[in-house]
Symmetry: C2
Subunit: 374 residues, 2 copies
């Protein structure tokens, strides 16, 4: 069945490298698990129900409709869907991990969408398959969502070699975190070998994105000094690459100056990645200038960190950290949503802040309330 189901848009060289391995994984047959129960109605509306086998097969053959449905399942908060999603993840796990995971953040107005579109198109033209995801914890509050407006990346969203998925909505940053990580795994199993994860930097979202990617890039504009005043504390210290965008026309000279200034500043910071000196580069995402140089630097990063073992070490520690952060989120959810805790917490907090009760005693009391199980 080789290539029988390979969509015609997959370029010839997609068979080289990781994509091939993934396809071979499929050819090698599944694990023979019995799993013929159909998964139906996992989204509102009467859609065709797929069996677990069909979903797993569909993902591994990059059936975009099935991939999108699997992601919807992963994003669902319903216990039934979570169980199905875990079955799928269990099966596709051996086909994951073979991408370069790149996080992208930036100050407002730095041109993140334009940059992602330029980089994504450049990579597709070089034969890569690119998935674009987003972490935006604010979307659950505002109802909006980054990447939600596909016209923001018009060209890339029409490119069949790219897969764009808006930020999952609903839930805490912990929930968005889980959903994005699992979506990334599904995309990897579907053969996407470059994953771009965008964040607009609300709350701790840069730290969360940094914790799931191999390389983290920060998009900035000219005027480093002033820019930095508006930049969130500590974000620069997460970055492996600092990209000064809009280096075009009258702005080009200023962008070069800003780049030099950033290169000076990063010298004073501990590198985000062991053994890699953070570098500043310029580009013009709008005119698609400098994108090749940025990709070259990203490949250097991958090559160096893989040679030193830092890449592999970070992946292993990321997955451990993920376990621990999921456990912590879950523990806190349970505690702070406990009806009795919810009821007494505001008053207790007030008493402590006003100096009418010591903290340790207040916390002890809260735990007594918590242990009164419903």
């Amino acid at each position: 069945m080789e290539n029988k189901n390979r969509p015609e848009w997959v370029p010839e060289n997609a068979d080289k490298g990781f994509a091939t391995n993934i396809m071979r994984g499929v050819e090698g047959g599944h694990d023979g698990m019995e799993s013929s129960q159909p998964i139906t109605n996992f989204r509102a509306g009467a859609r065709k129900g797929y069996s677990l086998d069909e979903i797993v097969d569909g993902i591994l053959k990059n059936d975009r409709v099935i991939l999108a449905r699997a992601i919807t399942l992963v994003e669902s908060n319903a216990p039934k869907h979570i169980e199905k999603a875990q079955q799928i993840l269990n099966r596709i796990l051996p086909y994951t991990g073979n991408s370069l995971r790149i996080g992208i953040t930036g100050v407002p107005g730095a041109g993140k969408s334009t940059f992602i579109e330029a980089l994504g198109s450049f990579l597709c033209n070089k034969g890569h398959r690119v998935a674009v995801l987003a972490v935006d914890p604010s979307s659950s509050i505002t109802g909006g969502s980054i990447l939600g407006d596909k016209t923001r990346m018009e060209k890339l969203s029409r490119d069949k070699r790219a897969f764009i998925r808006p930020s999952p909505s609903g839930g805490t940053l912990g929930g968005v975190n889980r959903k994005t990580r699992e979506t990334m795994l599904l995309c990897e199993a579907a053969g996407y070998d470059v994953i771009l994860i965008e964040t607009i930097g609300v709350g701790q979202s840069e730290v969360v994105v940094r914790s799931m990617v191999d390389l983290f890039a920060l998009l900035v504009l000219t005027g480093a000094g002033d820019e930095l005043q508006g930049m969130k504390k500590g974000v620069m210290e997460l970055a492996d690459l600092i990209i000064v965008n809009k280096a075009d026309g009258d702005n080009e000279q200023k962008a070069m100056v800003a780049k030099d200034e950033y290169n000076r500043i990063v010298h004073y910071l501990r590198p985000a990645t062991e053994g890699w000196q953070t570098k500043a580069l310029t580009c013009s995402a709008y005119y698609e200038k400098g994108i090749d140089r940025i990709w070259e630097e990203m490949q250097n990063f991958e090559k160096n960190t893989k040679a030193s073992g830092v890449f592999q070490k970070r992946r292993a520690s990321q997955i451990k950290d993920w376990i621990y952060s999921m456990i912590k989120d879950e523990l806190e959810q349970k505690f702070f949503n406990h009806p009795q805790v919810k009821k007494v917490l505001p008053e207790i907090e007030k008493e402590v802040v006003e100096g009418r009760q010591p903290v340790t005693q207040a916390v002890q009391y809260l735990f007594e309330q918590y242990e009164k199980r419903e």
Copy 2:
């Protein structure tokens, strides 16, 4: 009974300002709570047992022996002692909060002890009463403890206007955190109006100290560039003052250059405290030069932040954060010390890292184990 019990070493002007208020609190009588049960044997050995009233009285009159015993009680992990400690804290709470809380960290070799001794002696001579505490999460592992070797601060430790307490040993950073905060409250109730909290910066200890002080100072040496390479990521962004120490002899000129360089760098960082531009200064702690200038800047900081309300706002949010961090610590302790979780965790972690099990499923399984209550 005014001043009847005031030890002869308290300088005349200690009656001005906070110390007086605290003493008056005592004179005004207690709240009439019944609390005559004696607290005995709270430390190994046969010591005199004090009643709750005696301990509270002793603290408020700055009886150093009783203060030290109360701290030992606060540092104890025994449930019986925790309960007694909470009773004491409950009673002294109205007399706390009236100090300037200063955190001090620094790169190894920067001369933290010499600096604290110089600043502490300077302040005592100006009529202040100074308590020196430490946060050192490593002391529980190494058995050592900062400030443990009193000869490091020989002069200050002989000064009766100063109170030096080594880092509490045992337990997690969360435990050390609680003990240090509660010790700080006891010292405030005893009339110490400047609290210096030292940390050697293991793990997240700077963040923990930052979360309990009003002002955070970072001690560095000359050669900013090289220094910073050895400095922990993000520490500079916590600092309100950067103090270039050892500005003496041949080193003085270099220290001035370093100071200017730090002043340039902090311009690129978001200020640690709203409305306060972090400043770099020089001093020679060994020759006690520049200490007056540093204290002046510390007082400016206090004056400015109190006028803007940032000081009070930070205190309120620190106490709220403390509640939440204690709850989180407690939740994690309970989870990770659960016998069944402890038993299965290493194998589960291994399976996940090796890609044999999805994270969400692993976490679900761990919670099933956890919910099997003993």
